[in-house]
């Protein structure tokens, strides 16, 4: 009741300010009348009574003020009037206000933009219910040198049966499916999942049902769940789609459900969900095929889950037989151990370091922006020195003056924050439009309440930091001497300059840190561009995927013949100089398996290191521009004859046989049961895991083989074509390619058509992303720093006009006067650079993970940045210093 009354009355008084004031005035007046009347009644004359009554009341105005000041609403009212006053003052100096607000908006906007990326990518939980319970079932196998191992089907069943820590266990695999029987054959992204996959995520179809255990049975009717987008675009959102049959890879699948529009998984484009359909009886122990996810029971920690998985890993060999061709103790030697991670951490990966580094970067930009605005505020406060001193002398409390100065910066901060938010919004739109593919969860980045709170927070903090500097300098009680030293001081006291000089030094120092950072990134980028990735002229390499399903061409050799036929058709397209086929494009990995070498007598019971396996057609190396170091390429005849041959990468040849030429004629195989394969060639290393990563050891096998990886015939039906042509990337070429493929088989959709350049760029994307943002930040810092120096020198020139006049009148040469100011600027920037270099040495060490082939203390970068900055600073001080020479001594001395 009381609180409510307080609030209601206060609001009422606030809304009817005049009436409330009148009421108080009336009451004071009535009090006076009553007192007068009482005094009169006691026998005083009316005049005397009135005088006495007034005396008693002391000052009616003071009483009114005293009564008025009661109530919370009055604090607001007086703050509002102060605010109006501050706004008027800011409005009166629109140049200063515009520059300050813009500077702050840049700093706050940049910080807000990066923070919203951090919030969307790193901080926000995944959009599943209790997403903190969802873990990715990763493993390690130190015994065979694998750091990060996926999930085996055998382990999926083991975990499903035996676990004590999971609510549900699911397994998935990304795939594509060619949809035929509709207008145009189409290759669409699909997700193969086990039946408990969706319950693990806690997501349900919006229409129809989810998969059941029977859907996983290979003998059951094939089922499919559509994504909402695919349902809308291909079935017009028709609810009667349930039960319809669609042809996927030549097999009829019954539509059983439609996912909600919000469904997303690991940033993947998914059009279809298909059951994984694994036949448990066919599963062998070594069956690492898929990705595993699980939902932890409430309260179970990752450590507990890891412990339970360790226990279950020991149970698997009893449940599933070892694959033929593998030694029986393979499980023990691999030393497989759990490495469970939160699904979010797997999705986000190691981008966190980069993002936090960028956050630090924009934080520095914000600091520089604040320093700049603080400098301007100091100049303003300096101009008001006498006004403030007069007010202080007249009894204005320093708290009151401080409040005024703070309110001014608060207004600037609020305006800067608002504009900054708008800038951030724009920047995020650009970010999303530019399709930074490698940035995980990019579609989840938005300006949400957390981001708004952040913006509000930094705007307030920035405002206070800004406001406090002039407050401490000018609102202190020792103002009185400002009155004395008024306008007629001959030159400026050093003290009045100190705060601004310090700010400029700080700005320059911070700018140096950012510029060194950008410089190091530029050097990294250059270093990466100079690395030979293992292929050449990527912009002239067009790639596309084609899959020949068993339902269309069952016989393996015929599938390969069809692939060659397509290759020949593409070869005859105008402008195409070479075509080849591969299982996995450069920089797109391959399967990973141990490879045995005949002459390397491995210790019994150990497994040789894992190599990347790729499968290629003849001509692949000459097409991609990979150098043959020794030996020769495969031939088509050998491919069809299934001659047991292989090529290896240079680093593998050196590792096993110390010399590429020595590798020729050696024999290797992936499992103990396979035929030995003769090494006929050694190929230059390929930076398959990214330009900045070490080149892995790679073995290249023919597309068609027998007795390979324990299967009698090993064939690659889902292949990528690599086409060398100057027409790569053009629409006309794409149409020619479609015609060429259709002329061989009209039911084969072309998938994932792109140039190899785009693959290469993607591997550099993080570096270029970091580089661009750091360069923008560095450029902004440099600009703001130079503006700071320019401002200080130019203000100093304007304040010292009289001094300049005297010097000139006494015969000082012009250059000396100019030099004096330029020297001042150079000293400031020199000190700033010195501090900045020290700071950069300390801070750039944090960049180590994003640098490549450049030391964080790379001397060249440091020297270049310092030189450039001092040069720019000299120019920034020379420009205003020149104004000094325009001073007319007579005018200057006469002024005031």
């Amino acid at each position: 009741m009381s609180l409510w009354r307080q609030l209601a009355r206060g609001l009422h008084a606030l809304a009817n300010r005049r009436a409330a004031d009148q009421d108080i005035a009336d009451e004071v007046e009535s009090y006076l009348e009553q007192a007068t009347a009482a005094l009169e009644a006691s026998g005083l004359s009316p005049d005397e009574a009135r005088r006495r009554a007034r005396l008693e009341l002391s000052s009616a105005t003071a009483v009114r003020e005293q009564v008025r000041s009661y109530g919370w609403e009055n604090v607001i009212a007086s703050a509002l009037s102060d605010l109006r006053y501050a706004a008027r003052r800011l409005g009166g100096n629109s140049g200063f206000t515009t520059i300050s607000v813009l500077t702050l908006a840049l700093g706050i906007g940049a910080s807000t933009a990066i923070f919203s990326v951090i919030e969307g990518v790193l901080l926000k939980p995944l959009s599943y219910p209790q997403s903190g319970q969802i873990v990715a079932l990763r493993h390690t196998a130190p015994g065979i040198h694998i750091d990060d191992l996926n999930l085996a089907a055998s382990l999926y069943f083991t975990y499903s049966d035996e676990n004590r820590v999971f609510q549900d266990v699911g397994m998935w695999q990304a795939d594509t499916a060619s949809v035929t029987g509709v207008a145009q054959p189409e290759e669409v992204p699909a997700l193969l999942v086990t039946n408990r996959f969706l319950p693990v995520l806690g997501v349900q179809p919006v229409l129809g049902r989810q998969f059941t255990a029977s859907d996983d049975d290979p003998k059951s009717e094939r089922a499919v769940i559509l994504s909402n987008g695919y349902w809308k675009s291909h079935f017009g959102g028709d609810r009667s789609v349930l039960g319809r049959r669609i042809l996927l890879d030549g097999n009829a699948h019954s539509v059983v459900g439609v996912m909600p529009p919000s469904f997303q998984f690991m940033d993947r484009q998914v059009s279809l969900l298909l059951p994984l359909r694994i036949n448990r009886v066919d599963i062998r122990l070594i069956s690492f095929c898929c990705q595993g996810i699980a939902r932890l029971k409430p309260g179970v920690t990752l450590t507990e889950a890891n412990a339970d998985v360790t226990r279950m890993l020991a149970l698997a060999p009893a449940k599933f037989a070892v694959n033929p061709g593998f030694s029986s103790n393979v499980w023990a030697t691999a030393r497989i151990a759990p490495r469970l991670r939160l699904l979010k951490d797997v999705l986000v990966g190691d981008i966190g370091k980069t993002l936090w580094m960028l956050m630090g970067t924009v934080g520095i930009v914000l600091l520089i922006a604040c320093a700049n605005v603080a400098n301007l505020l100091l100049v303003r406060a300096d101009g008001r020195r006498q006004e403030l001193a007069v007010r202080a002398a007249l009894g204005a409390g320093w708290g009151r003056i401080a409040r005024e100065l703070l309110l001014e910066s608060l207004l600037l901060g609020a305006a800067g924050g608002g504009l900054g938010l708008a800038l951030a919004y724009g920047a995020l739109r650009v970010l999303r439009a530019s399709g930074v593919e490698h940035l995980p969860r990019v579609h989840e980045i938005s300006i949400d309440p957390a981001v708004l709170a952040f913006t509000l927070g930094i705007s307030l903090v920035a405002s206070f930091l800004l406001g406090l500097i002039p407050v401490f300098k000018y609102a202190r009680p020792q103002l009185s001497n400002a009155l004395g030293s008024g306008g007629r001081s001959i030159s400026q006291s050093k003290e009045r300059h100190r705060a601004r000089s310090i700010l400029v030094v700080v700005q320059v120092a911070l700018a140096v840190v950012l510029l060194v950072g950008s410089g190091l990134m530029i050097r990294t980028f250059q270093a990466l561009r100079h690395i030979d990735p293992g292929f050449s002229h990527a912009p002239e390499l067009e790639t596309l995927h084609i899959s020949i399903p068993e339902s269309q061409v069952s016989e393996p050799e015929r599938a390969i013949r069809m692939e060659e036929e397509i290759l020949r058709k593409i070869e005859s397209i105008a402008g195409v100089s070479a075509v080849a086929i591969t299982s996995n494009l450069p920089m797109e990995g391959g399967s990973g398996d141990p490879v045995y070498a005949e002459d390397q007598t491995a210790q019994v019971g150990t497994v040789p290191p894992i190599r990347t396996l790729k499968f290629v057609s003849p001509g692949y190396f000459s097409t991609t521009g990979a150098r043959l170091i020794a030996g020769r390429d495969l031939t088509w005849a050998e491919t069809y004859n299934q001659t047991p041959l292989a090529l290896v990468s240079e680093n593998m040849a050196r590792e096993l046989w110390h010399d590429p030429r020595a590798a020729i004629g050696k024999r290797i195989r992936p499992t103990l049961k396979d035929d030995w394969r003769e090494v006929i060639g050694v190929v230059a290393d390929l930076r398959d895991e990214g330009v900045d990563q070490k080149a892995p050891a790679i073995v290249y096998w023919p597309l068609l083989q027998k007795n390979f990886e324990s299967s009698p015939t090993y064939v690659f039906r889902n292949v990528a074509f690599v086409i060398r042509t100057p027409r790569a990337g053009s629409l006309a070429l794409l149409q020619d390619l479609q015609k060429a493929v259709a002329s061989v088989n009209s039911n084969l959709p072309l998938a994932d058509v792109k140039t190899l350049e785009s693959v290469y760029d993607r591997s550099l994307a993080r570096t270029s992303f970091t580089l661009v943002l750091l360069a923008i930040a560095g450029g902004m810092a440099l600009l703001l720093g130079l503006i700071g120096i320019y401002g200080v020198i130019s203000y100093s020139v304007s304040q010292r006009t009289r001094e300049i006049g005297i010097r000139l009148a006494l015969g000082a040469p012009l250059q000396n006067v100019t030099g004096m100011f330029v020297r001042h600027g150079m000293v400031l920037s020199g000190v700033g650079v010195a501090f900045g270099l020290t700071g950069a040495l300390a801070l750039t060490r944090l960049m180590k993970s994003v640098l490549f082939d450049v030391s964080p203390s790379d001397p060249l970068t440091y020297v270049e940045v310092s030189a450039a900055l001092v040069l720019a600073a000299t120019l920034a001080s020379y420009l205003p210093a020149r104004k000094a020479t325009k001073v007319d001594p007579v005018e200057a001395l006469r002024a005031e």
Binding site: S2, R5, A37, Q66
Partner: protein
């Protein structure tokens, strides 16, 4: 200073106002005079403090106020104790006597 201190004891003004109004509704000046009279001039109420206190008590819901014509046909804002005000007064009075008797005991013990 030679003059006797006529300030109202810190923190008791609210209670004195409430007590005064518990006798009959009154305007500001009337309250001031009544306090002065009953205290036999020991307490003189500062008008600014009084009017502020009235504002506070009204806001707190312990007083109601309305503009009325007084006996000498002048307009005045007349204050009246509310139910909550009565309760507040009895609380404050009880609290006050508890404290003063404690102080009195302490002072006696000291003597």
């Amino acid at each position: 200073m030679d003059e006797l201190n006529t300030d109202v004891i810190q923190g008791t003004l609210d209670m004195l106002i409430l007590k005064t109004l518990s006798l009959e509704p009154m305007h500001g000046f009337g309250i001031a005079r009544r306090i002065e009279q009953i205290s036999r001039g020991v307490f003189k109420v500062n008008p600014g403090s009084l009017l502020t206190a009235l504002q506070r008590l009204e806001r707190g819901g312990w007083l109601d106020a309305e503009w009325r014509r007084t006996e000498n046909s002048r307009r005045a804002k007349v204050y009246k104790l509310t139910r909550a005000g009565k309760k507040q007064l009895s609380n404050q009075t009880a609290d006050w006597s508890r404290r003063t008797s404690a102080i009195a005991r302490l002072l006696k013990a000291e003597g």
